[in-house]
């Protein structure tokens, strides 16, 4: 019987991640670069928000996220939120982060609120780091993860110039304002922010879950003892 239980527990906890890990195709890449966001790192979230605001927000909305949620979760003072981030007297802090852009912006840039949950964090992390120059594309750049992407490499100035070498690998040919490590860290911040935006409740969820689980462990222990007392009668 113990074997059966062990097998069940094994199936539930081991087999599921193994199955999901089996599907790791990442565009033309075999596998996306590994990345795990830590939404409890407030500084990282704030840096990510800064990048989003400066580089993404002119095309991409966050239409399910409210400004004042950022104030609460990212610990942003109201004056900075109103003056520096919103910077528009017609927008209330309880409004969604849309900058007045239409639902589908004219150039077809998707809303980013749930994007990390659709694509996965690792996909976006890899996507934003694998742009390369390609004169055949209208935008002048192409991407390994999403070939033919319509998105401009707006972060090119930070990353520097990349081209494909003869083997199809990325090669850095010009420096940006950031080193490769700095750029990877910055994209990590951005993806962390987007992961947060896709599920703000994740902060509370991951913080408090352990208490619920501990409660039920204690509950199980007490009930087990109680049951043991009672079953003595019928043995």
């Amino acid at each position: 019987m113990i074997k059966v239980k062990a097998l069940l527990i094994f199936l539930f906890f081991v087999a599921l991640p193994v199955w999901s890990a089996a599907e790791t195709e990442c565009g033309t890449l075999e596998k996306c670069d590994s990345f795990e966001s830590n939404v409890h790192d407030r500084n990282s979230l704030q840096r990510g928000l800064g990048l989003y605001k400066n580089y993404c927000s002119s095309c991409h909305t966050l239409r399910y996220l409210r400004w004042n949620r950022l104030e609460r979760d990212l610990d942003i003072p109201e004056n900075i939120l109103v003056e520096d981030l919103i910077n528009n007297p017609q927008v209330k802090t309880s409004d969604f982060i849309t900058f007045g852009l239409p639902e589908v912006s004219a150039i077809g840039a998707p809303d980013l609120t749930l994007r990390t949950r659709v694509r996965g964090e690792e996909w976006i992390y890899t996507y934003l780091r694998t742009f390369y120059e390609d004169s055949e594309q209208i935008t002048g750049s192409n991407n390994l993860v999403y070939p033919g992407t319509a998105m401009l490499h707006v972060l090119g100035g930070l990353q520097g110039r990349q081209v494909l070498d003869q083997n199809g690998n990325l090669e850095k040919v010009g420096d940006g304002t950031m080193t490769t490590e700095e750029y990877d860290a910055a994209i990590g911040d951005l993806v962390t922010f987007l992961a947060y935006a896709s599920e703000p409740a994740r902060i509370t969820r991951e913080k408090n879950g352990i208490f619920v689980i501990l409660f039920f462990i204690a509950f199980t222990a007490v009930m087990w003892l109680l049951n043991r007392e009672y079953t003595k009668d019928i043995k």
Partner: protein, 415 residues
């Protein structure tokens, strides 16, 4: 009954409503076997998860919008703006997976230990109806978030009705309430999901339990505990349901909730198997997802559906319709299991080698089909799915033969 109690409120009540009588019959004096194993806990856990689904469902219903325009956004509203809305939603979505997980084990227990045999046929039948209703409920509920996978998976399933000869296309339009899957479909699915199917399920759960209490719960030995009784009429191998069984269920419920909440809090997407990634994108009828996969709990049946790549042309049966028939048959055949088993013993422990091999083949095929159902098709996978479909049906279809002729062991008299 003691004198003091006769004057009490209960006595007043009992004269008007048989409360005590029924409490004793179904709880305090209902005898259940003393010794059962791990597999016998799933019934209690199913009751628990059913309650979880009803309660979280009521809360979700308070904030959900059942329109094409508002459904997707209302889910995000629940996830973000409703206090603990995310918890209700994750409990409900994880609960759906848990429900099926428990249900499959509960039914497998039934198959292993002959919990369907005379006189328990009705218990099994009600249970099969419950599986059918649960599948319907899960399907209807899955459409409600109105994500890409909601929309396209529903399209796949509804198009199956369209494959029925003659009446199919009209039937599909009648079910959809529109010529395409649309907001009209969404709002009727909402009504069915929150009212019709749950009501039927509650009724069937009551029937399931009443029927069970009429014939008595089984045990892994297949021993009839009613044969030997003490002087009070309580079976020697039995104990009153309350407090003994209720208390023994509580630690199990505790363990279940530890696992359940570990998923709810730390892996609510279940690696993309409980909440599928494409469903975080709003339904778009112009854009089909690359790979339409059902949620894991339908995967075995979906695999059977996809495995049928051939029709019967001279009868005018297309491969799609034949697939639908076999797919429906894979669930329908479970209903008649009580009449397929001709064995003189109940439990797999005392059945012959053929029954044991058959059960292993059946379980292995079911699991393999489940795995294949979540993957895109290719030739090899289709072939494996076809073989597994065969081995899903054969153990059941051949059951009348092998259970009748195989050599069984003698069942002990007592537990």
């Amino acid at each position: 009954m003691e004198k003091a109690k006769k004057n009490s409120f209960m006595s007043w009540l009992d004269k008007r409503l048989p409360v005590t009588e029924n409490l004793e019959r179904h709880l305090t004096k209902h005898p259940v076997p003393k010794k059962v194993n791990f597999f016998y806990i799933f019934g209690a856990l199913l009751m628990v998860i059913f309650m979880v689904q009803v309660i979280t469902g009521i809360w979700l219903m308070m904030f959900y919008t059942n329109t094409e325009e508002g459904a997707f956004a209302s889910i995000e509203y629940i996830m973000r703006d409703v206090e603990y809305g995310w918890l209700m939603r994750y409990m409900h979505s994880t609960g759906a997976s848990a429900f099926f997980f428990l249900m499959y084990f509960h039914m497998f227990r039934g198959l292993l230990y002959g919990s369907y045999q005379k006189p328990k046929e009705l218990v099994w039948l009600f249970g099969c109806f419950l599986l059918f209703l649960l599948m319907a409920e899960g399907f209807l509920g899955y459409v409600l978030p109105w994500g890409q996978m909601s929309y396209w998976a529903a399209n796949v399933i509804l198009s199956l009705f369209g494959a029925i000869p003659f009446i199919g296309p009209d039937l599909q339009v009648w079910i959809q309430g529109d010529y395409v899957l649309s907001g009209a479909t969404l709002s009727r699915f909402f009504a069915l999901h929150v009212v019709v199917v749950p009501l039927l399920m509650i009724a069937l759960v009551v029937f399931h339990i009443f029927a069970l209490h009429e014939v008595g719960a089984g045990n892994p030995e297949g021993v009839d505990i009613e044969k030997h009784r003490d002087k009070n009429g309580m079976p020697l191998d039995g104990a009153p349901f309350h407090p003994y069984k209720t208390l023994s269920a509580l630690p199990a419920i505790g363990i279940f909730f530890v696992i359940f909440f570990a998923i709810v809090f730390f892996a609510p997407e279940g690696g993309g198997y409980f909440l599928e990634k494409p469903n975080f994108e709003e339904a778009d009828f112009l854009k089909t997802p690359e790979h339409i996969a059902p949620v894991w709990y339908y995967a075995p049946f979906y695999s059977i559906l996809r495995a049928i790549t051939f029709g019967i042309p001279f009868l005018g049966i297309t491969s799609k319709f034949l697939g639908f028939i076999i797919f429906a048959g894979s669930i329908a055949i479970l209903f008649i299991v009580p009449w397929l088993d001709r064995s003189n013993v109940q439990s797999i422990r005392y059945k012959g080698i053929y029954s044991k091999v058959a059960m292993i083949l059946f379980a292995a095929s079911f699991l393999t089909l489940g795995y294949l159902g979540t993957k895109p098709v290719n030739e090899l996978r289709t072939l494996i799915a076809q073989i597994c479909t065969l081995f899903y049906f054969l153990p059941l279809i051949l059951m009348p033969i092998y259970t009748k002729y195989e050599k069984t062991l003698e069942v002990p008299d007592r537990l």
